[in-house]
Amino acid sequence: MPKILAALAAGLLFGVGLTVSQMVDPAKVLGFLDLAGDWDPSLAFVLAGAVVTTAIGFRLVGRLRAAPLLAESFQTPTAWTIDRRLIAGAAIFGVGWGLVGICPGPALAGLALAPAQLALFVAAMLVGMAGFALTESVLAQRAGRA
């Protein structure tokens, strides 16, 4: 239960951050991605503010704690190689992001603000995620049989 409450609080804070920064607005995001238009560099400041805060916080936590407060260990990402999946996945995501100006965080955070359009986007996004999970499990089964 404490883990669930901590996740709820972190999600809330994330949603407030997306709202304060206006990244929850796809029009604002497209204004950043449109270098050849009336360019709005604001999102670079969102990214910088988030990265600097996270970098400082992660380092502090690393110094002060050997384990998280509510879990047994830190789930540190272990992959370090830049492979084809990473590049292809990032490119596919980038095209989708550029088409509408919506990435996963703002899609969910915007659900209550523009439910008609964003429910559609989120449903399609979840189908894409489920499709990935399905292909992964099929591939894993095949590899297991071979």
Binding site: K3, G11, L18, D25, L43, P77, R85, G96
Partner: protein
């Protein structure tokens, strides 16, 4: 640059960073939205509740902001139904294949100086900028 809002952008970014630090120090998890949501489709025992709770918080975030006196944020979603569906499929599949999105790679990964995240962020930013250039300035949509 009439819409430039550097202060609120940096402040909002800092709040996003605080959220990432909070999830890390409390639960030991990376605040990557596509990973948190996508993990729901590859479920493991005891690993569902916190994901749903984070997503619920994320959805409630803008409403909490409004309740605190910030006002309901106005957002503009202009793309057509077909485009929203196509983009949603690409974003869902691509973020899972690439192991992250703007938050997991762009925020947490860059903060950890991960070479993978740096590469992924460069690629998805470049792809998004190219897509906007094509749709707005070449195809004129």
């Amino acid at each position: 640059m009439q819409n430039f809002t550097p202060l609120s952008a940096a402040l909002g970014g800092a709040l996003i960073g605080l959220s990432a630090v909070m999830l890390w120090v409390m639960n030991g998890r990376i605040a990557g939205i596509s990973g948190i949501a996508g993990g729901l489709f590859q479920p493991r025992a005891g690993d569902i509740g916190w994901r749903l709770a984070f997503v619920l918080g994320l959805i409630a975030g803008p409403l909490a902001y409004a309740a605190l006196g910030g006002g309901i944020p106005a957002i503009q979603v202009t793309p057509s139904t077909g485009l929203l569906v196509a983009a949603g499929l690409l974003v869902g599949y691509g973020t899972r294949l690439g192991g992250g999105c703007t938050s997991g790679h762009g925020v947490c990964g860059l903060a950890r100086l991960s070479p993978r995240s740096l590469a992924a962020t460069g690629v998805f930013l470049a792809a998004a900028v190219a897509t906007v250039f094509l749709t707005r300035h070449v195809l004129g949509a």
